[in-house]
């Protein structure tokens, strides 16, 4: 084994260990997980029942299951909350000094960011699977089959890493737990400027124009297309949007870490 591959393997283990630590902490503190698992489901239940009459609108696509049409919005909401949770946990580590101890460890510092995002991916995988399963007894049917569902979950997990990257960059730049905790409404702008719960054609005209520039638009449409087995969204475009978001925001988080180290 060459020195480079040895280093890569060691950093991989660091990323996994940090990811496992983050996930363990989250699952040991139920109050941290409750909003990420319960809130999107509550919104799903209310929207599915409160707006199902929308299927009678002219221009609304012919869908076999209205709940299944809404679920992609719930999944994307979950990815936003999972990403935000990563930022909050990182800010907490910074405020309470644990992150300083990590900085003293003989590991590549990029791994510290990647470890946090690995946990976000893990959380999003669990979350999205949970949402898809819970929606089934309430009438959700996924004509795209198991393959479609797995691909949809994978795209959601990459998106969560992208959102986690934004939150991590802000946490590293500011180190403020209270700031991260108050980011919740601002992150939801991303959700509401995408066709999360309604078809893009039926959104408010201004919102429709804005949606074209929101990467989550392509993600949510891809997830909807994969789950329904229709051409509502292009999976490749959705995958590219999610991956692009994740790469850019992870880069921003790494830059924020470097800046933090430079000014410390």
């Amino acid at each position: 084994m060459s020195a480079a591959s040895g280093t890569l393997a060691r950093e991989g283990r660091v990323v996994l260990a940090l990811g496992r630590r983050s996930l363990t902490i989250q699952f040991r503190k139920a109050q941290l997980l409750m909003p990420t698992f319960i809130l999107p489901l509550m919104l799903l239940a209310v929207i599915a029942s409160g707006t199902s009459a929308a299927q009678g609108l002219r221009g609304f696509p012919d869908v076999a299951s209205y709940v299944a049409f809404i679920v992609p919005g719930t999944i994307i909401q979950g990815t936003i909350l999972a990403g935000l949770t990563a930022g909050i946990a990182l800010a907490s580590d910074i405020e309470f000094g644990f992150f300083d101890r990590l900085l003293a460890a003989p590991v590549n510092r990029v791994s510290l960011v990647l470890g946090r995002l690995a946990a976000t991916i893990g959380l999003a995988l669990l979350q999205s699977t949970f949402f898809l399963l819970v929606a089934m007894p309430f009438g959700a049917r996924y004509s795209g089959g198991v393959d479609g569902a797995i691909l949809a979950i994978a795209i959601a997990a990459i998106t969560a890493a992208g959102i986690g990257g934004i939150a991590a960059a802000i946490a590293l730049r500011t180190g403020s737990l209270s700031l991260l905790q108050s980011l919740f409404p601002f992150m939801f702008v991303l959700l509401f400027t995408a066709p999360a719960f309604f078809p893009r054609e039926l959104l408010n005209p201004i919102l429709r124009d804005v949606a074209a520039y929101n990467p989550l638009t392509y993600v949510v449409e891809a997830v909807r297309g994969l789950l329904s087995g229709t051409s509502v969204g292009d999976p490749l475009t959705g995958f590219a949007a999610a991956t692009g978001l994740a790469l850019v925001t992870t880069g921003l988080a790494v830059l924020a870490l470097r800046e933090r180290l430079r000014t410390q």
């Binding site: 209310v46 029942s49 409160g50 009459a53 609108l57 919740f184 702008v189 509401f192 919102l207």
Partner: protein, 265 residues
């Protein structure tokens, strides 16, 4: 020979006033403290309107302006979360030991939470007004005029007080800030298990039943007199709203008092 000991009763109103002032200072002395509580309902209002605005095209929708429909909902949501924050702040005071000191003061326990709840009601006027102004700027209508606005503000303020009592009950029961999500989700459920997105005739399934028995539905209808229905001479939307608020105040107030009575015993 000495006469019977006469204990001086501490003046009660100043106690409420001081605690009211203290709860206001928590936002007045922290720069930007009101910002998230104000921006969140505005973001939700804009988002929901953008997503579901076309629902006004359905038969039975009582207005063709969806933002008019959503403004009262967002006002109640903002007021409710301001009220629930009372519980979170009380839980913090309990955890940090400050509330134990208040408990030994020679004042009735309900007064110890009356000030913070009044503080929340005062604070909720800021997001409520901002939501209303943004809504009006974006085309919300005001068929209810000044009386309608009064109904909206009374509904929001009283709903904030109810949410405050719920928060106090939860804080007294759990005595930890970790109960914060429970306080907020109580408000979330109360607001959204109602005619939040569509009128009752368009609700389907279990939500129609839930909205029917949820008292917040009547509070919302009372608030919607400002921007949707206008004040009806029969007070058909006012009286049920006032009764619902009175009922919630009695039930949640009793829960809060029960929790406070158990504290320190």
């Amino acid at each position: 020979m000495s006469g019977p000991v006469v204990r001086a009763r501490p003046p009660l109103l100043p106690v409420v006033g001081v605690l009211w002032r203290r709860s206001l200072n928590e936002v007045l002395r922290v720069r930007g403290a009101l910002l998230p509580a104000t921006i969140a309902p505005v973001v939700f209002m804009l988002g929901i309107t953008g997503q579901f605005g076309r629902l006004t095209g359905l038969d039975g929708f009582p207005t063709d302006s969806y933002i008019s429909w959503i403004v009262p909902l967002s006002c109640l949501q903002a007021a409710g979360f301001a009220g629930a924050a009372t519980g979170a702040n009380l839980a913090r005071d309990i955890e940090q030991g400050w509330f134990d000191r208040l408990l030994v003061a020679p004042v009735p326990r309900p007064l110890l939470v009356a000030g913070p709840i009044l503080g929340a009601v005062t604070r909720c006027l800021v997001p409520t007004t901002v939501v209303l102004l943004v809504g009006l700027a974006l085309g919300a209508e005001l068929p209810g005029g000044l009386l309608g606005l009064l109904a909206l503000y009374v509904a929001a303020s009283a709903f904030c007080a109810c949410a405050g009592l719920w928060g106090v009950a939860m804080a007294a029961a759990f005595r930890t800030q970790q109960a914060g999500p429970l306080m907020q989700q109580g408000v979330f459920l109360a607001v959204f298990l109602s005619t939040a997105y569509t009128p009752e005739v368009l609700l389907r399934g279990w939500l129609a039943g839930a909205a029917d028995i949820n008292p917040t539905t009547h509070v919302l209808e009372m608030a919607r007199q400002a921007t949707v229905s206008g004040i009806e001479p029969s007070l058909a939307h006012t009286v049920p709203g006032v009764l619902a608020l009175a009922g919630m105040t009695v039930v949640l107030g009793a829960l809060a008092l029960l929790g406070l009575r158990r504290m320190g015993r």
